[in-house]
């Protein structure tokens, strides 16, 4: 029996997977539309399973399909046996182990939920504490503190909110998880509900991910039908509901308080913290807000143990991180590895250098609010602590590569421009600082009074960093100042 696999994930579809699937259907072969394994550089991929072996093919065109079916491993686009592909083989898939293996809506054979339903809240929270899991959305805050706070805070109705508003450029891990293994997220949120006493969950997904929305909505339907959600989960008498909520196009709604405002149906203006959402979140109730990958890590932790998870990584950066390699790079994609891998190993080891073939000049780590780093920092291990020492942050794990044609003054200009477009407008440093920063940076690019303007930029960045209400305004100075510090020649011509 031969089965062909053609992904239905956005990265594959956007590269032409639907045409490949149609060609496979024409051959009459059995076909599964699977999720993505995260080898975005090879999309559309195709896999052929025959006699227990599973071969992968990359950058498949519809016209390749008859040849692939006939020639199998002798075909020029064969990447080899899936389990032996270097790019995947070198990863540690704790969270993304199921993604890409089968149809995303195929219910997994086993669920860790059963045993979690029998455990008390205290032991679930203790497991998270042992694991050392920190929030994967960007801030890296210890997860168990949030869990315990929600548990300890009295409230008739508590909430679990999943932040799937993945707006950072260079990131797509949330999307791949939701399109490839949606039940993992549902499981993770449900366990969080059991541990904190919350019975209602919301997934706030950005509108730019329509395929993820369709898959996740269908997965919710299946989960309810299979009693993985609802008023009596797997006959335990315990209840948990999850609802999908689609955003309406606003980067700022990735900020947790802005997200909560939006989920309440309002303008996505940020709230002043404190109080933190764990104490006063959705409708003022105790609310656990985590990113998709944080929740998705929970089932693996419960299945293997917190100690198993904590054994991976370095120091206080425990476990695995789903890095996302993007931009001007040969082999960009999802790379789940324990913390501690160096930037160089990701960018050159996995990525194979730039797609343009020119030398790498800089990488931006952590999305549009992340720092531009220089080549001599590439030996830095990717841990929360080591990256913080560079004045940067890992953020949501996005790494964007630029070759030597990049103009860092234009990138700094863009950082302000993006802030101007996406600022919620609530506080002045962000609302006005972004506009003033953009104008000033334009002057620098034109070579007018550069030294004076650089001083203005520095002052402005200090105000934005210290006086903004949230990280949008507070961190916009990071790409700007990191670029000025490391690449001064781009600003003084």
């Amino acid at each position: 029996m031969t089965t062909a696999f053609v992904p239905l994930d956005t990265a594959a579809v956007a590269a032409g997977a639907d045409a490949v699937a149609a060609a496979v259907a024409d051959t009459g072969a059995a076909m599964v539309r699977n999720g993505s394994r995260g080898m975005c550089w090879a999309e559309p991929t195709m896999e052929v399973e025959h006699d227990g072996a599973r071969l992968a093919f990359g950058n498949v065109a519809a016209t390749d399909v008859p040849g692939i079916v006939q020639q199998q491993e002798r075909h020029a686009k064969c990447l080899g046996e899936v389990s032996e592909i270097d790019y995947l083989h070198r990863q540690t898939r704790a969270v993304f182990d199921r993604a890409g293996t089968s149809h995303p809506l195929e219910l997994p054979k086993t669920t860790v939920l059963e045993e979690c339903l029998e455990r008390d809240a205290g032991s679930l929270i203790a497991e998270i504490e042992t694991s050392g899991l920190r929030g994967r959305g960007g801030a890296g805050f210890p997860a168990h503190i949030k869990w315990r706070t929600v548990f300890d805070t009295p409230g008739e109705q508590k909430y679990i909110v999943c932040n799937a508003d993945e707006g950072d450029s260079g990131t797509f891990a949330d999307r791949i998880l939701m399109e490839g293994d949606p039940y993992r997220l549902i499981e993770g949120m449900t366990i969080a509900g059991l541990a904190t006493g919350a019975t209602k969950g919301y997934v706030y997904l950005r509108s730019e991910y329509p395929i993820a929305a369709d898959i996740f909505q269908a997965a919710l339907g299946n989960a309810y039908a299979d009693d993985l959600l609802g008023t009596d989960i797997l006959g335990s008498g315990k209840a948990f509901d999850v609802e999908l909520f689609i955003g309406a196009g606003a980067y700022i709604c990735g900020e947790e308080t802005s997200l909560l405002e939006s989920l309440e149906g309002k303008r996505g203006e940020i709230r002043v913290k404190p109080p933190v959402p764990a104490i006063s979140g959705l409708f003022g109730a105790p609310t656990l807000v985590h990113n998709v990958i944080s929740f998705a890590a929970v089932p693996a932790i419960m299945k293997h143990s917190g100690a198993w998870y904590a054994d991976m990584g370095v120091g206080r950066s425990t476990g695995t991180m789903a890095f996302q390699l993007a931009g001007n790079v040969q082999r960009g994609g999802l790379i789940e590895v324990p913390f501690g891998i160096t930037i160089d190993e990701i960018v050159n080891g996995f990525g194979g250098g730039t797609r343009s073939g020119r030398p790498i000049r800089t990488v931006q780590i952590g999305g549009p609010l992340g720092a531009y780093l220089s080549h001599d920092e590439f030996d830095t291990p990717l841990t929360y602590e080591a990256i913080a020492e560079l004045g940067a942050g890992i953020g949501h794990g996005g790494i964007v590569v630029f070759d030597d044609t990049v103009d860092l003054a234009r990138q700094a200009h863009y950082a302000f421009e993006f802030c101007e477009v996406e600022s919620c407008g609530k506080c002045m440093p962000c609302r006005l600082g972004s506009v003033r920063g953009k104008e000033t940076m334009s002057g620098i690019i034109e070579g007018r009074d550069v030294e004076q303007k650089l001083t203005i930029i520095e002052d402005l960045c200090e105000v934005m960093e210290t006086a903004s209400l949230c990280q949008m305004g507070g961190m916009t100075p990071i790409p700007v100042m990191s670029a000025i510090k490391r690449f001064p020649e781009d600003f003084r011509r």
Partner: protein, 152 residues
């Protein structure tokens, strides 16, 4: 185009009423209205406000906040080109210029036939540059892909 204001739009009211008791119902209703009509008219804003017992200003505030909640009729062809960093690193700025020339419209503008908008990340950052044509994502996009679907 002058919008002819009727007093009330029954279908907008119906959509709003359907979502009245849901968490985030106002936003869900406004999204549905845009999905059905392409935009939210002044009349519809008024209808939504009444159904949710909000002031018209509050609903206007919500509509004006979100990029997706358009307030004008949209052309049948809608092109969005990603402007974010990963796409910039492989020529999104140059691609945008070529798309502007091809469509005869500037970024952020629209004709009766086509609109061209910026989008900040479609999650296709490892296969940049990317764009979206009428809701369909396109990876490693170039002008040929666009020209194939939308002749000049």
């Amino acid at each position: 185009m002058v919008e002819i204001e009727s007093k009330s739009d029954a279908s907008a009211r119906e959509i709003a009423a359907q979502h009245r008791d849901r968490v985030g119902g106002v936003l869900i209703a406004l999204r549905q209205i845009v999905r059905r009509f392409g935009y939210v008219s002044r009349t519809q804003e008024h209808d939504v406000a009444e159904v949710f017992n909000l002031s018209r200003a509050e609903v206007r505030g919500i509509v004006s906040f979100y990029h997706d909640l358009k307030t004008k009729p949209q052309p049948s062809v809608q092109v969005r080109v990603c402007q974010a960093e990963a796409c910039q690193s492989v020529g999104a700025r140059e691609l945008t210029k070529r798309v502007e020339t091809h469509l005869g419209v500037k970024l952020g503008e629209a004709t009766d036939a086509v609109s061209l908008d910026a989008v900040y990340c479609l999650g296709l950052c490892a296969q940049a540059p990317s764009m979206m044509i009428n809701g369909r994502p396109l990876a490693r996009a170039d002008l040929c892909d666009l020209a194939e679907q939308i002749p000049a």
